[in-house]
Amino acid sequence: MRVALFITCLVDGLFPDVGKATVRLLERLGHEVVVPPAQSCCGQMHINTGYAAQALPIVRNHVKAFERADVVVAPSGSCAGSVRHQHAAVAREHGDAGLAEAAEDTARRTYELSEFLVDVLGVTDVGAYFPHRVTYHPTCHSLRVLKVRDRPLRLLEAVEGIDLVELPDAETCCGFGGTFALKNADTSTAMLADKMSNVIGTRAGVLTAGDSSCLMHIGGGLSRLRSGVRPLHLAQVLEHTR
């Protein structure tokens, strides 16, 4: 299959290793990866902070960048969620019915990585080997917007050598929330503290999740505490082989 990678601005600019892992994983599974050059960002930060009008050209750019793609895959539940559940609404509320329709079309072809692997490719065992103690944080948007349910866990359970430990209160938000982490830094930090305490309590050496944004947040806290826990995107765990 020819897969158009929606790399997301965060992975492109700050976490390229996540993108490289996604490419290698998909290629290892026998698929062709393309990176449509016109892409930049989904505009979610603008939309969720109250700047939907400013996000409109970003949405337009995204929809145009992926108009010819058969299938779009993002290593992010949050960005895929924005494409699927916000883009058309933003277009419509600004009176652009044509863009709204095109956005709906793009949305139908867009998948978060674990959805793509499990639902479209029909694989749970991706042939990975990762002999480490790992705990998994289900990110809010993958869970409640996309409803990926246990797909990421099924992928992780099939990894050879992995010691997967359950994260207590896993489904509670880590406190990132985009600009929430800055506008309500104290509350965000209180949420982060509980998340970190649960992560550290598992004695896992690796924390994994499907979103680099949440991992940047929890990872930033774990790094500040010098906890020794490594944040790794789901794609990076799944990319590992013997």
């Binding site: 930049s40 960002c41 104290d186 509350t187």
Partner: protein
């Protein structure tokens, strides 16, 4: 927002200090944090059990939302029907456009009876309009008879939860409040919950038997029959509703259900969502005054019509005040209710309060959420609170006009709407590799390290590959 001109904005206890500042203070209160974590986790567990056992919960939830939407779509007609039914049964109906008018009406009715004291059924609407303060201004003492409301009142405190107003208080604190403030209480009162409840019971029983005017709210009003419904746990509400000779009920105009039949859906949704019980202990329904009683109903707008006028915000008026969203919210669980500065805290408060007052008077509440979405999942009337928060954020941004933030967001939008501009911008990250370790980002860096930008962006790697 020109659409809302001419519609009265909500007044009363709906605004407070900016959320981030109020939250910072609350987060430092260890007792509050412990109480909230324990109480919300307990209620969450109970709710999950009793909701999980119903195979038709999704259908009930959809029915609840649909019935409320039907009411809101023809609210004017339902209200007129309600008024006619009430009047036909001998209840006096009053209309109040805002908190001030509602308070004037109620204080007028109360002072006309000559009483110096009234007993109250737990009510959000009277808390919203600040009725107790208005009554105090005319020399009338309002006695809260819900146990938790009584604790809050005696502690000269504010409620911090819709259903459990004293959720922020511990047993030892309650004993101290009772010993200090409750007339005739046993000085050796212990902090045993049973002893505390007994002390309150003795205190309240005296009030039930001596005070002749009661004030209530209502969980539901049935437009078809003019019936009012109060759902409670303690039975103190029923004492207030039945013993005094004058009963004044203050009801938000959105509390209606079209017909008697519709109540069945809500009597399943509400207790399971709020206390996590299959059925609450006391449900009082009254249609017209009981014999020898004079009854009044004050229908309060206080910003509800303005809320109704906004197609993207009106679903907030479906709310039945169950507080499932509070108990499930990771923000509420940590900050508690006072940080929201409004009678309505938590996720629903963050969408309802700004709509009732206008966003200009409540600009921080729409941002008091990480948009994790759990509030939407647990809402028994399917209010999409996250989308509504995003909608209100937009209105805050519009109302504020040009700010340093809006300038930065505009610039960033210009960068991000074009791949070439974005690529150039992303490449600048590599110059920040050292800075990311030493230069703090305000807000972020107090508790979190910044990621170190890569030497090469993904896109540059991809092209070099």
């Amino acid at each position: 927002m020109s659409t809302f001109l001419g519609m009265p904005a909500g007044r009363g206890n709906l605004t407070g200090a900016p959320f981030p500042e109020a939250a910072r203070e609350a987060l430092g209160n260890a007792q509050l944090r412990r109480n909230l974590a324990k109480a919300t986790a307990t209620i969450r567990g109970k709710r999950a059990n009793v909701v999980g056992e119903l195979p038709d919960w999704a259908e009930l939830r959809a029915a609840g939302a649909a019935i409320k939407d039907e009411v809101l779509a023809d609210l004017d007609e339902h209200l007129v029907r309600f008024e006619e039914a009430l009047t036909a049964r001998g209840t006096h109906v009053h209309w109040a456009r805002d908190a001030d008018e509602a308070n004037r009406i109620v204080t007028g009715l109360v002072t006309a009876t000559g009483t110096r004291e009234v007993i109250k059924v737990k009510s959000m609407a009277t808390a919203e309009i600040g009725l107790n303060e208005a009554l105090a201004d005319v020399g009338v003492h309002a006695v809260e008879t819900d146990l938790a409301e009584l604790i809050v009142q005696l502690g000269r405190d504010r409620p911090s939860h819709i259903l459990v107003p004293a959720i922020h208080r511990g047993r030892a604190e309650i004993r101290e409040i009772f010993r200090r403030e409750m007339p005739g209480v046993d000085p050796d009162l212990t902090a045993d919950p049973r002893a505390l409840a007994e002390a309150a019971r003795a205190h309240l029983r005296r009030k039930f038997l001596t005070v002749d005017v009661a004030i209530s709210g209502a969980n539901f009003g049935i437009a078809e029959t003019g019936s009012l419904v109060v759902v409670e746990s303690e039975g103190n509400g029923r004492m207030c509703l039945t013993l005094p000779r004058t009963l004044i009920s203050v009801v938000g105009i959105e509390k209606l259900l079209p017909s008697w039949r519709d109540l069945e859906v809500f009597l399943q949704l509400l207790p399971r969502s709020s206390t996590g019980e299959r059925m609450n202990p006391y449900t009082s329904v009254w249609t017209g005054p009981t014999e020898g009683q004079t009854s009044h109903v004050v229908l309060v707008d206080n910003g509800r019509t303005a809320t109704l006028a906004d197609p993207d915000g009106r679903a907030a008026l479906r709310c039945i005040r169950c507080s499932a969203c509070l108990n499930s919210c990771p923000v509420y669980e940590r900050t508690g209710g006072h940080a929201y500065g409004s009678t309505y805290p938590g996720p629903i408060g963050a969408v309802l309060s700004p709509q009732l007052t206008g966003v200009e008077r409540n600009p921080t509440l729409p941002f008091a959420s990480s948009l994790c979405g759990v509030c939407y999942d647990v809402c028994p009337v399917a209010i999409d609170i996250p989308s509504m928060l995003v909608h209100l954020r937009k209105r805050v941004v519009e109302a504020k006009g040009g700010t340093p933030e809006s300038t930065a967001m505009r610039a960033l939008a210009w960068v991000m709407s074009d791949a070439r501009r974005w690529r150039r911008f992303a490449r600048l990250g590599r110059f920040g590799r050292t800075a990311s370790r030493h230069v703090p980002l305000p807000g972020w860096s107090t508790a979190r390290d910044l990621p170190q930008p890569p030497r090469q962006t993904f896109r540059d790697w991809w092209e070099d590959r």
